[in-house]
């Protein structure tokens, strides 16, 4: 089995028999194409997003060695020079008081064709939205913002952390140039002010909620309960990652992709 086919099998995206020929062609193109050059940039994050990437156990080695080139963050690069990249995965929010982080982010924007907010800290600020400084040894570090507040962000993968699967699927889509699959990630680049309250203001208040429970299932901190068929937010547990609203079937609806994935 080719690498791509194995990855697809792993992700439960096995091609339909009648489509096999087409898929093989895509793979061939993918294999002939230059590998995307990916950089990993770590700002104020917890490294959980990369840990999650590494939990693609069965395909990790292939992914990292055969499918993409990690050109920054893990391989030999000249100290002061960030290379040109096709995609920069930026983890963590950016501290406005930390000159280096701000400068580095600016440089990433210059060097990378696509800047991806990797994880909720980079995408929405996540729990660093609650930062307010005053702590030793750097009491001046107080303002943490999603990276889109400072630079143009092309796509976002929210999640605290994003699941291993969505990371692998995104990378595979990138390799295949599957822009249809990536469209929601492009749209989510603009979703920077996230909170569990969004379910109330953008779904329940808008007469859209149908009590399915997807939000509560998706919440990684278990900040949500279902109460009389509507989400009930425990704000003491909410980290403002935005996952609940992103997963809600009434926030955006990727019908074509779902039909495709189901073989319809």
């Amino acid at each position: 089995m080719s690498i791509l086919a194995r990855i697809k099998a792993f992700l439960g995206m096995e091609a339909k028999p009648e489509k096999e020929a087409l898929e093989e062609e895509v793979e061939k193109v993918a294999e002939e194409k230059a590998k995307p050059r990916i950089g990993y940039i770590h700002l104020s994050g917890c490294t959980g997003d990369v840990m999650s990437l590494s939990e693609n156990y069965d395909i990790l080695a292939e992914l990292l060695t055969n499918l993409v080139d990690i050109v920054y963050g893990q391989t030999l690069v000249d100290l002061w020079e960030m290379p040109e990249m096709d995609l920069a995965l930026v983890e963590g929010s950016v501290c406005l008081q930390d000159e280096h982080s701000v400068k580095e982010l600016m440089e990433v924007r210059e060097k990378a064709a696509l800047v991806c907010a990797f994880g909720s800290c980079a995408a929405t600020g996540c729990f660093t939205r609650y930062s307010r400084g005053g702590q030793q040894a750097r009491p001046d570090h107080e303002s943490f913002v999603p990276i889109a507040d400072l630079v143009k962000v092309d796509c976002a993968i929210p999640g605290c952390p994003p699941s291993p699967e969505i990371i692998a699927k995104t990378v595979v889509a990138l390799i295949n140039g599957d822009m249809d699959y990536l469209q929601p990630m492009l749209d989510l680049a603009g979703y920077t002010e996230a909170c569990g309250c969004d379910l109330q203001t953008k779904v329940v208040n808008q007469a859209l909620c149908i009590g399915c429970g997807t939000c509560a299932m998706a919440c990684q901190t278990r900040a949500l309960d279902m109460n009389a068929g509507r989400p009930e937010l425990n704000s003491d547990r909410c980290v403002k990652c935005g996952v609940c609203y992103v997963q809600c079937p009434r926030s955006w609806w990727p019908a074509e992709q779902i039909n495709k994935d189901l073989g319809f």
Partner: protein
């Protein structure tokens, strides 16, 4: 002419921590300083004034590599402040989660040091071995603690839910099946570290060790009166470094200490070796102890027992302490709750304890071994680093070599 060798994770721009070594003409380190330059997100201040329930949720996000010890130290500090006695099954589940995390985390460390120790022909074997072990260990964390990376279900007063009997049996069978694999893995790693032929005495220092328990952690063995914390300004004799350093310096009996698997092995398992090789051996061997503990707990966990105690969340402002032996060493969180709100919160994370010890531990050997010394502590910096040697006179980079911390 004295030179400075600076090892900085990936570069100034991606800074996490830096190792600055002064070296003599032979390249031997005469003075080592290691410090963190990660921006301070201010978790302790963030949590002050919030509901106690927020503490473990935010605290686990200190680090995605070792979130479990932070979560456990956080809930234990809260349990202590609120005077909660957690049910037996909850305690077993917490111990199970930490043991699984130890196995996972030590395996990750082996992945990170593979470039140093694993010869080309064994590389795939080692990496696959790591992945296989991690998969099972994380499966346990997912099921028992709700989420594998930021565990949602470790709660003040115990755990959110017990697991089902089906889950217990499944986990027990998988952990048992993992045992021969872990044994083989440990043998492989210990052998490879020995084969490397690192100089005898590398990384040996005279600082005391600090540990509270064989595997889980015990607040009774952490004496707050013997603990002091100073600012980098009064620790580093280099003003520039002191200013850039982002973590405080914790001391025990006025001294910097070593925490971690070697410290635990020395105090509780009769292990007498010291230095870099000893740290790797102790860490690898600990995977076996942790897995045995997982199997033992899974054999006897009562899945119908309650796992969460009732408690009064108002609190009396008692200073609660959570002391957890994380993979990288003692992780202490302190919390005070009164009027239902967290009044004070503080964390002494494992790498912070080791930071003032790691630098001096590089002294007396060639600076090329510096990264080996640092990596032996498995500092919580999973990112790649460069070694550069900066000429003091014109500050040009005279050597640039990739290392991985």
């Amino acid at each position: 002419m004295s030179e400075r060798v600076v090892i900085s994770p990936t570069s100034r721009q991606e800074g996490h921590a830096e190792l600055v070594m002064e070296v003599d003409d032979e390249g031997i380190v005469t003075k080592g300083r290691y410090f963190s330059i990660t921006p301070v997100r201010g978790l302790e201040k963030m949590l002050t004034g919030k509901a106690p329930e927020s503490a473990p949720v935010y605290a686990q996000r200190i680090c995605g590599v070792c979130p479990i010890p932070h979560t456990l130290a956080s809930v234990e500090a809260m349990d202590d402040s609120l005077d909660i006695e957690i049910p037996k099954a909850a305690r077993q589940m917490r111990e199970l989660v930490l043991a699984a995390h130890d196995v996972n985390s030590h395996a990750i460390h082996h992945f990170l040091i593979a470039a140093d120790f694993v010869p080309e022909n064994l590389f795939a074997t080692a990496v696959n071995s790591v992945s296989e072990i991690r998969k099972t260990a994380q499966y346990v964390v997912d099921m028992v603690a709700g989420e594998g990376i930021h565990p949602s279900d470790v709660r003040i007063g115990g755990m959110a839910d017990n697991i089902s009997e089906v889950a217990r049996k499944k986990l027990y069978a998988r952990c048992k099946a993992l045992k021969p694999k872990v044994d083989a893995h440990v043998e492989l790693i210990v052998g490879l570290v020995a084969d490397k032929g690192l100089p005898a005495g590398l990384g040996v220092h005279n600082q005391p060790i600090l540990t509270t328990d064989n595997l889980y952690g015990d607040r009774e063995n952490f004496d707050l009166d013997r603990f002091t914390e100073i600012m980098p300004e009064s620790w580093y004799d280099d003003a520039e470094i002191a200013k850039r350093a982002c973590s405080t310096i914790p001391l025990y009996d006025g001294m910097n200490v070593e925490v971690g698997p070697r410290a635990r092995a020395a105090k509780f398992r009769g292990f007498t070796e010291k230095g870099v090789v000893a740290q790797h051996v102790a860490r690898a061997m600990e995977m076996k102890s942790a897995l045995s503990k997982m199997i033992a707990i899974l054999a006897e966990l009562d899945t119908s027992a309650p796992v969460r105690a009732d408690f009064d969340v108002r609190g009396t402002n008692k200073l609660g302490i959570g002391a957890i032996e994380g993979p990288r060493g003692l992780d202490v969180h302190m919390a005070q709750v009164a009027n239902g709100k967290t009044q004070f919160y503080s964390c002494l994370v494992p790498t912070t304890w080791n930071i003032p010890t790691m630098g001096p531990a590089t002294e007396g050997f060639h600076h090329e071994f510096g990264p080996h010394v640092i990596r032996a502590y498995d500092p919580c910096l999973s990112c790649a680093t460069h070694v550069i040697v900066v000429d003091d006179e014109d500050r040009s980079v005279i050597k640039n070599e990739m290392v991985r911390i």
